[in-house]
Amino acid sequence: MKIVVCVKQVPDSDAALAVNADRTWIVDSGINFELNPYDRYALEEALRIKEAGEGEVVAVSLGPARAAQVLKTCLATGADRAIHLKDEAFQGGDPWANAQALAAAIRTVEPDLVLCGFQANDDTLAQTPVLLAEMLGMPHATGAMKIEKTDTGVRVARELEADRREVVDLPLPAVITVQTGINEPRYASIKGIMAAKRKEMKTPGPADLGIDPSQVGAAGSRLRFFDLAVPPKKEGGEVLTGSTEEIAVALVKRIRENTGVL
């Protein structure tokens, strides 16, 4: 089975973020980046499916030069080769434009399965994989907690609210987004890290993929961030004082007056 895993480089979850001068995105210099945590699970799932049979895992990422780091991590962890969409024309896109570019790159691989993380930790939009499926003409399932190979394709258990699961059968090829907790991602082994430098990493541009640069990146986007702001600091709440009984009475009064719940 040939599996594509889409991965994204995102700011470290504990990076100190600041909004940039034109309020359109964060200041991305001086902070550390990491492989989107959701994507680690997608990669692990791809490696497990491959190891259970045979095939190839191809990691694909759209992002600036620094994003090569997350592809190297994928190669070190066990992916066989990587495609990095680092051309300037691809950058600054919305989910639609990014899906356009990713779809073009993925078509060159002709995969049986495309795995993505459920969402990216930076914008948490969770739209790109679904758009990607539509553009590739493949069925999709989101939030997978279990993926099983069947005679006709794959059976996916999707996570719903309150610990419920929805089980769907999909023919292949298909796009599936993977929820955290589906597996326990492995560490990049020392030997894997050393072998990674001998693995292929392609960096095709729009012309190589036969796409019009105006359809990808910032030029191809329909969605724009125009006013990003840090949420205002919450005012310090009211501290009730007195005996336990007095506090309880005061609390009930406020709940009744302010919320209408009681």
Partner: protein, 387 residues
Amino acid sequence: MAYKGADFYLSDELFTEEEILIRDSVRQFVTDQIMPIIAKHNREGTFPAHLVPGLGELGLLGASLEGYGCAGVSATAYGLMMVELERGDSGIRSFVSVQGALCMYPIYRFGSEEQKQHYLPDMAKGEAIGSFGLTEADFGSNPGGMRTRAEKTAGGYLLNGSKSWITNGTIADVSIIWAKLDGVIRGFLVDKGTKGFSAQDIKGKFSLRASVTSELLLENVEVPETALLPGTEGLKSALSCLNQARYGVAWGAIGAAQAVFDEAVRYAQGRVQFGRPIAGFQLQQAKMAEMLTEITKAQLLCARLGRLKEAGKATPAMVSLAKRNNVAMALDAARTARDILGAVGIMDEYQTFRHMCNLESVKTYEGTHDIHTLILGQAITGLDAFE
């Protein structure tokens, strides 16, 4: 906040991308697998044996050797691995040092091809554990005086004697026993369960509590011809293993120092006395400034030593200088950090006291601080203060 080791002089820029990736992978392993369980093992005095397959899978066992299932990393990458492991616990780092530098290395360097094929792949996977039997109860800094003897017999060798302070002794599948054969120190591979060979743990340790330390007893132990490591010849063979291990210790100590520094700084920033964080008080700032200065110096020392080792230019005396400096530095840092932590500094809910106790052993093993002083004295003057 995820752990990030202090790196004031951007020493990461001295390492290759591959070395950083290796470091990061080990750091993640330590954060996920060691940090949550180490205090309990330290308290109970148990070795977390369940970690061994994971250490093997990650490629940490015998990582600097080439072939036989080993990764063949640069000396610098090996050092960075030791830093991260010792950030977790000196006992875990000791396990990895003994397995790789003291057992796999001598088999690799002095063993026959059959011995290498037989032992190294399993040891790299963590499916076989090794111990290194050089020190004896009466011969610590002076191992050349050892009493353990080997005699040639018709089918092999007869070993008699005892060893002490042996890391991994009771859990080892194979022990490298150094013994005098016709007055010359040679290494022998003794498998677990060989008749007359026994081990028991040394109890009552205040230090390296998450590591196994044992005594080995050899009473008329018969081993075949194939047990002799053919390339071993005299004490220098054993010392060459120690030199590998000391190199790792010099790096590892940085990790322990980074761990206690990190804990002390976080604590000082959060601990409020007299209406403000104690991190704002000059006495505490002086302590933290001193710690960071010494950690930074130790990092640069090792970064240079690593490249010298890769170029084949690192002398044993250079390794001694780094081991001596860095371990003493880490112990001082741990004592200072404990001061900053105040009362909670004595609790095992915090790491500092554990590191402080561990480092007392690290200062003593692999050549005591004083012995390394004398090795440097010899290198400076050409005159031996010992022997």
